[in-house]
């Protein structure tokens, strides 16, 4: 019975997701497109950091590369930005290859710092190389569709592909090798695993998926600039949060994390979906109005608090600590 539930749940969730945009307005369609995009990015981060144990602080480098590939296809070659879904993934992998080859000689925190540097280098390249990238002006393209529905289903397709690809990888030899490297690099090496080689494979797969998500973003938003797509806190840190909050090293953790994080982000941005500011204005108190303004600007700080809470109380994330969370609520009823 329990096994059946486990098998059926993903199918039910998928059916709900397919029907979801047909019954809600554009605002919620938009939010769900973001959630699905973050499922792709979060799953990719989970592969390299959660399963392979090589924490990346620089996912934006791959995301931005994918987004710029899609954008430049339009402005430089006059092709459709949708080619970016393939070429964006490839170009992000091409960034990951030399980076991994050099930087996987570093371990632990030193590797994480190198990814942070890659993030910054890529942003500066995109800013300074004006002839090619347009610099701070960014890239503006025409969107293909007026309706949000096509974007939604493409995003849903990519999210499903990301989860399925990573599932297949983790059930193969690669998966065993990635986990071995996470648990103990020296032991893995002495068991015949070329750790440098397999860390690079993991990074390249993750980078490709993240690049595809970037290309999707370019297509959907129609505008990118270096500060948006190479953003440290809005992309790189958000990717880490999606992973940690959902559950590091779990299959569906990033999907749950993406949902929660986009909701949290939106809640801060709109001040509890406008509720806080309504209350503040109704009360007429200047103090409450200024507090409500502050809340909507404080989402980065809110993220920070959330990370602290997640690490303290559910270090394995929502999916990893699911039983603990259920136990918390059911204790009272017993």
């Amino acid at each position: 019975m329990r096994k059946n539930i486990k098998k059926v749940t993903p199918v039910i969730v998928l059916v709900i997701l397919v029907l979801f945009p047909l019954v809600v307005n554009e605002y919620y369609q938009h939010l769900m497109i973001l959630v699905l995009m973050w499922v792709v990015i979060g799953s990719a981060w989970n592969l390299i950091a959660g399963y392979t144990g090589q924490v990346s602080f620089g996912d934006a480098a791959f995301f931005g590369t994918g987004a710029y590939t899609a954008g430049l296809l339009v402005t430089k070659l006059g092709l459709s930005a949708w080619w970016g879904l393939i070429l964006g993934g490839i170009s992000a992998s091409l960034i990951a290859l030399p980076f991994g080859w050099i930087c996987f000689r570093l371990r632990g925190a030193y590797f994480a710092l190198a990814t942070l540097a890659l993030n910054e280098v890529m942003r500066h390249v995109a800013t300074i190389w004006e002839d090619f990238t347009g610099g701070m002006v960014g890239i503006l393209t025409l969107q293909s569709f007026v309706s949000k529905l096509p974007y939604y289903y493409i995003a849903l397709g990519l999210a499903v592909i990301a989860i399925v690809v990573i599932r297949l990888v983790m059930h193969s030899k690669l998966g065993y090798y990635f986990l071995s490297i996470r648990e103990d690099q020296d032991a893995a090496e002495s068991l015949g695993i070329n750790t440098h080689h397999y860390k690079m494979i993991s990074l390249v797969i993750a980078a490709a998926l993240t690049g595809v998500a970037g290309a999707l973003y370019m297509n959907y938003m129609g505008f990118i600039d270096p500060h948006v797509v190479f953003s440290l806190h809005d992309i790189s840190i958000m990717a880490i949060l999606v992973g940690i909050v959902g559950g590091v090293g779990t299959q569906y953790g990033p999907a749950v994390g993406a949902f929660v994080m986009v909701a949290v982000q939106e809640m801060f941005r709109t001040g509890g979906f406008g509720l806080v500011s309504k209350i503040a204005r109704a009360s007429g108190s200047d103090l409450l109005i200024s507090i409500s303004d502050m809340i909507s600007k404080a989402h980065v700080m809110g993220f920070g608090i959330l990370v602290v809470i997640a690490i303290l109380f559910m270090p394995n994330g929502i999916v990893g600590d699911w039983k603990k969370i259920i136990g918390l609520f059911s204790r009272k009823t017993q």
């Binding site: 059930h171 193969s172 030899k173 065993y176 090798y177 986990l179 071995s180 648990e183 103990d184 020296d186 032991a187 893995a188 090496e189 002495s190 068991l191 015949g192 695993i193 070329n194 750790t195």
Partner: protein
């Protein structure tokens, strides 16, 4: 042509000479014990043979081929496996998954890797514990898991680093049985051990090192009566 040949190995760490001009050979099918007081350089020597360290000078030959300077994963594919003194199980994986991960070295498919793993687990009598997460294993079984993992890479030469330390007498006997069974499979064994009774009873030959230098080599009986060895272990004899 000897099976494993360690030739004039010197290993320096900065100004410290951990291994100083050590040479010895291991024949195919032998069990050779490597003993010496704490800090003598036994594990360092293992790390050189296994490829974790590049020797400062000197060479290691395996089946006539020079292997010093190659990475551990290459040596593993050539047939050298090792265990660690401080056990390094893949903590959050089950016992079975630990062994499957190492079996992939010689397996093309997952099914084949699982077959090799199951065979290795039966051989070391850990099969009943295969679904336990390895973090939860008691030390004796963790040590045996180390050996099982090494065996699953189907080695020709097995380097055992203190696989008996901290075991209780019944676990000790189990492990001795397993070592003897491994030898019967035709696997050559180089073993570091502090437990004198064990090393004397299973080794064909023993190499003794002290302060990074080889001070004696011979059969267990010869080593037991060697004054230099007794001195290294018990201190110099002072005549009053």
């Amino acid at each position: 042509m000897s099976f494993l040949k360690v030739k004039n190995i010197i290993k320096n760490f900065g100004g410290l000479t951990a291994i100083n001009d050590v040479s010895f050979e291991v024949g195919r099918g032998e069990i050779v014990g490597l003993i010496g007081p704490n800090g003598a350089g036994k594990t360092t020597l293992f790390n050189v043979v296994n490829g974790f360290y590049r020797p400062t000078r000197g060479e290691v030959f395996f089946r006539g081929k020079k292997v010093s300077g190659l990475k551990p994963h290459r040596l593993c594919k050539m047939g050298i496996a090792r265990t660690f003194q401080v056990v390094k199980p893949l903590q959050r994986l089950s016992v079975m998954d630990n062994v499957v991960a190492s079996a992939f070295v010689r397996a093309a498919t997952k099914r084949r890797a699982e077959e090799i793993a199951e065979e290795a687990l039966r051989f070391t009598r850990l099969y009943e514990d295969r679904n336990i997460v390895s973090r939860g294993l008691p030390l004796g079984k963790r040590k045996r898991l180390e050996i099982t993992r090494a065996l699953a890479t189907q080695p020709e030469l097995l380097l055992l680093d203190e696989s008996f330390a901290g075991l209780n007498p019944s676990e000790l006997n189990d492990s001795i049985e397993i070592i003897k069974a491994i030898r019967e499979k035709g696997i050559t064994i180089l073993i570091i051990e502090h437990h004198m009774k064990v090393i004397m009873s299973i080794s064909d030959r023993i190499v003794v090192i002290n302060y990074g230098e080889k001070i004696a080599e011979g059969t267990p009986a010869e080593i037991g009566n060697n004054p230099g060895v007794i001195e290294a272990y018990l201190g110099e004899v002072h005549n009053a």
